[in-house]
Amino acid sequence: MVLFLNIKNPAYYNIYTALTWFWRHIGITTKGLCWLFLWQQSAQAAVQNINILYVQQRQDVSAEPLLLKQAASNKTLAGATLAIDDSNTTGRFLKQHYQLTVVEGSNTGELISQLNALFAAQDAPVAVLVDVPESEFSAISNAVLSHGALVMNVSNRDDALRQSQCRARLLHTVPSRAMLADAMTQYLMSRRWREWFVVAGNTKDDQAYLSALQRAAKRFGAKIVEQKNWSFDTDLRRVAQQEIPLFTQHDDYDVVVVADEQHAFDKYFPGNTWLPRPVVGTEGLVPTGWHWTLEQWGATQLQNRFYSQFAREMTESDYAAWLAVRAISEAVTRTKSVAPGALYDYLISDGFELAAFKGRKLSFRAWSGQLRQPIPLVHPNGLTALLPLDGYMHPVTDLDTLGFDKPEVRCNMAK
């Protein structure tokens, strides 16, 4: 109740104050007694151990000739390590200790037998960060879920996992391809760059990226004026200037959108297109979960903390792993529980909120397990926009204008 008119009237102010004062003091006494009781109980409690696993299957990535540009060996894991440190600083005050165990292997069978052994041991893991190829994801997550722990997807962008194959206790902190494509499209539409020349690679991942682009174009009213597949396997390093202009000949288009997740050819497009147009997608202007150029909302602290420990940039998958561990530890702190079921219930509830250096609180979509989050649109040395843009409305939260929304999701989330 807001007394806009009356507050300046001393009589009203005093009556109001007296009434509320009386009610509140009954409340304080009760709460004080409860706290005293809880405090005594917690004083007797020993340190709580929270075990989190990080499962990684070594993946073949396209060879980068320059060592400097090869993916770091601790990619993703570094983010989880930092979050464990951050959580232990908090845990020190609450008698909680977080521990990260790395499970590594080259095939799924090996990983699953290691997992089973760890779940049989004392202090069974409450959550497992899964960083394996998309093809192996469901086998690993099934194994974890059979033990009742939470699966935190930190690298798989597959839309099916958020649309038709989502399930209870499976949470995604990495943005899906649909979220990335929607974010990028919102920006392109705001600039009226609605006619797209799309180039997609042949891999399964590239085709999945292409599907996300097609969906986003339809959703926000962009028009794909030309769509070509890139099927050449020549080394483009010496001939990009000859090949790309010819390849991108067309009447007109506003942007060239490239879908090349392994970056086999997309890097040769900027500056080489037939028409002088921006390149967007996996190269040029790129939608991503995280980028080193983010510095607002205290992000500088996180970036600096990461750099001083690992001497490199924090990547999207580092950030996703950081988010996954922080979400778990936030749930442990608030629920004072280490039971995966209780943590999951809290994580997908309205009560859960996570501060994560993107200017607003993040939360999980209960109907798909995806973490809602703003998406930065970046170029190599700067931030172009943070999506969603003002003006994209949603009845619940504008963050749900990115990715598959509740009515589009067909999942059985029964626990």
Binding site: M1, V2, L3, F4, I7, K8, Y13, Y16, T17, L19, T20, W21, R24, G27, I28, K31, G32, W35, L36, D86, T89, T90, F93, L94, G298, Q301, N304, R305, T333, R334, E353, L354, A355, G359, R360, K361, T397, D398
Partner: protein
């Protein structure tokens, strides 16, 4: 006609009589500009900028010594707390501050400065007379808000990523307790008599009112402004009137200051100010409230009695902190 004139004259003299104490009351406000590395000095009576002073890099938290002779400035990127002579506007010397000082609080003994070092998860205690560090206390990740209880017994620090208020016992310089609050606690303010602590949680969008005796939350204040998305309501600076009536809470990118009944914790009004309103300070015997507005680069002036915004004053780039010298 005559009668009318007489009344008119009496009115005039009454007005001038009222004006007299006001001009005597005029205070001087100092605003730290985070991105232009300056302080803007404002006369709170005329509400005009009277001076701009160059200081260290990225000045944020600012605070006066009790006699108003010195102004302490957190120059975050110079990794220093600077001491300015208020009479001459000159920097006298730097204090050892630890890395990246952002906010601080001065103990009632007028000697010990408690500084939050955002990058290194510690609170540094500096003796301003001997210019030495006398203690460093480990706190949570990204320490930010600082406050000392009026009796000098407690120092509270907030840590933004740990989401806690850390209670430091000033007699031992050790952590005595921690209070968990909502996401990203930014600022803490003791009530005048020290029995309550108000703590803002920027990302949580709430203000917790905490009982000093039990160090537990009495009440959580939430905000709702029609037409503003709730995620944009991010409380930061807090000021409480000495008469115990009102709390003013700066709501960051919501561009409003909330007026809260300090007794019932009900939000009475939202006052529209500049963009990204950050910190607050009272002036002219608490009849005015100044707000720093980072994005719009100005200072809004609120008439505390009428609860109205009366003026906007251009400051430097990204005004952050504000303090007032009587």
């Amino acid at each position: 006609m005559n009668l009318c004139n007489v009344t008119h004259l009496t009115k005039l003299s009454l007005v001038s009589l009222l004006m007299l104490p006001l001009s005597v009351l005029a205070d001087t406000a100092y605003v730290s500009n985070e991105k232009s590395d300056t302080l803007t000095v404002i006369d709170t009576n005329t509400l005009e900028v009277i001076n701009t002073v160059d200081v260290g890099m990225r000045p944020r938290g600012i605070i006066f010594s009790q006699d108003y002779k010195y102004l302490y400035i957190c120059a975050s990127e110079s990794d220093a707390v600077q001491v300015m002579d208020v009479a001459t506007n000159r920097i006298l010397h730097n204090l050892p501050s630890g890395e990246d000082p952002e906010q601080f609080a001065l103990h009632p003994n007028n000697r010990h400065l408690y500084i939050a070092n955002e990058d290194s998860a510690v609170v540094t205690v500096v003796d301003t007379e001997s210019r030495t560090v006398i203690a460093q206390i480990d706190v949570g990740i990204e320490p930010e808000g600082m406050a000392v209880s009026p009796d000098g017994k407690w120092v509270i620090n907030t840590s933004e990523t740990t989401n806690m208020l850390h209670w430091i016992d000033t007699s031992t310089h050790e952590l005595a307790d921690n209070t968990l609050v909502d996401q990203r606690p930014r600022h803490v303010e003791f009530s005048k008599e020290g029995s309550l602590v108000w703590a803002s949680a920027e990302i949580g969008g709430t203000v917790a009112v905490i009982d000093t005796a039990t160090r537990s939350i009495n009440h959580t204040i939430r905000f709702a402004i029609p037409g503003v998305h709730r995620d944009k309501i991010q409380p930061v600076g807090i000021k409480l009137t000495d008469d115990g009536k009102y709390a003013f809470i700066a709501l960051g990118p919501a561009n409003h200051v909330a007026v809260v009944n300090a007794n019932t914790y009900e939000v009475l009004d939202y006052l529209l100010v500049g963009r990204r309103v950050w910190q607050l300070a009272f002036a002219d015997n608490q009849s005015k409230l100044l707000t720093t507005n980072g994005v719009s680069g100005d200072v809004s002036v609120i008439d505390v009695n009428k609860l109205k915004v009366v003026k906007t004053i251009k400051a430097g780039r990204y005004p952050w902190g504000v303090v007032v010298k009587p």
